[in-house]
């Protein structure tokens, strides 16, 4: 497809974007309220209460339906540019989530989050290096899988691939594994959370640690509790996620060191250079919003501004997730196989279960911020 420029590009965005907005409007205005009232298994609202099929999961499912059924496996040209705005929406939304915290609050929860995240990140990396080696996987691919399973799925795979000279075709299969596992956990986690009566804090800590892909952490938290406010699942989960995302450059550095240590032609590796190239800049936006919130510049809790901002966030995430669902091609995910599937599933499952056990044993029901 030809690359569009300037105004043509802006105009090309409109059809797909309008389609996503219309979809979300229908889901929020008609489908979700209907599901809240419909009686299934003898219980009113069973679909929403038990399966957590609120507008968040419905958005993803509808996006998947479009891609896999209506569009026949490929987003059509008329909608492609609009659907590509998905990343922009999600990033903007995550930046705005910074307004849910104060600097003092971040410092209180940050310590626990950093300890938990770094233990799990590096624990998973070491496991994948060991288990991948046992399965005779290519070292490049072990590096990519270690980053993907350890940090945050596709983002980590993208950041690590060039550094360890992995073959893009191999990476495609690794991504299929990570996404497939992540989608599965995204749909079962809210039900498990409700079953175990996890608080929003515990749930956020668990999925922020145990789910592989960043986007899926966000969606799972919002599926568990669609409210966007301090003290909700998404507020806690996102803290864990942000700490995890910040660790990407350090993880890339660690894995690159490990990879080149055994290669004949060792490359010069600089942590400063990696941080400069790989540090996620949106974190500054997120922290900027937290600073504004800490100094009361966004208004008091319950103010019109705050209310409006959270409404906007819920729409932004909903839109982003319709688009995200449309990027999930079930047929592509089914291509996952071989050693990456084995290693990815083992690492993902162990991390997911172990994170739940640690949260149940060591994380209090309520956070003190």
């Amino acid at each position: 497809m030809e690359e569009k420029q300037g105004m043509a590009k802006v105009l090309a965005i409109i059809p797909g974007l309008a389609f996503m907005i219309l979809t979300l409007f229908v889901l929020r205005t008609y489908v979700e309220p209907w599901m809240e009232n419909v009686v299934v298994m003898g219980q009113k609202g069973w679909l929403v209460k038990v399966l957590s099929l609120n507008y968040i999961l419905l958005s993803i499912l509808t996006g998947m339906f479009y891609r896999n059924v209506i569009f026949g496996g490929k987003i059509p040209d008329w909608a492609a540019e609009g659907f590509r705005t998905t990343r922009l929406f999600i990033k903007s939304g995550v930046i705005m989530l910074g307004s849910l915290y104060t600097i003092q609050g971040l410092l209180k929860v940050g310590g626990i989050a950093i300890t938990l995240i770094f233990s799990f990140v590096f624990g998973t990396i070491l496991f994948v290096i060991w288990f991948g080696g046992r399965n005779k996987m290519d070292r490049s691919l072990i590096g990519v899988m270690a980053a993907s399973c350890g940090v945050c799925g596709v983002s980590a795979a993208v950041a690590t691939t060039p550094a360890v000279r992995a073959k893009p075709a191999d990476v495609a299969l690794a991504i299929a594994t990570i996404l497939g596992f992540g989608i599965f956990t995204m749909f079962i986690s809210p039900a498990i959370g409700h079953l175990l009566h996890l608080s929003d804090y515990q749930f956020g800590a668990w999925v922020g640690t145990g789910i592989l892909n960043s986007g899926q952490v966000l969606a799972t938290c919002l599926a568990y509790n669609p409210d966007i406010a301090p003290g909700t699942a998404v507020a806690y989960g996102e803290i864990w996620n942000v700490v995890r995302v910040i660790s990407i450059p350090f993880v890339v550095f660690f894995i690159t060191l490990w990879y080149w240590r055994s290669e004949a032609q060792a490359e010069h590796i600089s942590l400063v250079k990696i941080i400069k190239e790989k540090f996620p800049l949106f974190i500054f936006g997120f922290l900027g919003m937290t600073a504004l919130s800490s100094f009361g510049m966004l208004g008091a809790e319950g103010s019109e501004t705050i209310h409006l901002m959270r409404q906007v966030m819920s729409w932004i995430f909903g839109l982003g997730l319709v688009g995200q669902g449309a990027y999930i091609d079930i047929r592509e995910l089914k291509a996952a196989g071989g050693a990456p599937l084995k290693v990815g599933l083992a690492a993902g499952a162990i991390k997911y279960v172990l994170a739940l056990v640690v949260v149940l044993l060591f994380v209090a029901k309520e956070a003190n911020f």
């Binding site: 490929k74 990033k91 996987m137 290519d138 993208v158 893009p168 495609a172 960043s214 190239e277 071989g338």
Partner: protein, 157 residues
Amino acid sequence: MMKILLALDPSTQTMDEAIKIATDKQASLTALFVLDTTWNDYTAHDWLSGSGSRADFLEYARDHEFVSETECAATFRKRCPFQCEVKSATGRVSDEITRELIEGEYDLLVMSHPFRRGLEVVRDTAGKILKDITCSVYLVQTNPPALFSRNGSASLP
């Protein structure tokens, strides 16, 4: 004269089959290599990567595509004993092959199955193409390469 299109991937077995058919049928043979440009969409689940990470990755994948193109074209030219054309296109692989088949009015498509070109490793290329074309298709069953072995090579038999 019969026109044959060979969809290029690293399989030399497929190249040899196409050359053999072209020789037997006295047909013209064109090889098409498609540079896969769908990486940006495939990695759309990367929401949060760093400032230069995504651009680096896409550039890295694109460089791999160029290297693959050079290698496949060189291998094919080396094996083909008669005059043949090697074309190059960019886009989604199955779409570009279909487009070339329709525009060039070919009689036969020869390709590997599974097709190992760019992101087609996770797609059913032949299945997609078969839905949209009317010419005959010759699928060469190839063994998947040892993608994941410690010293695995991506080249096919």
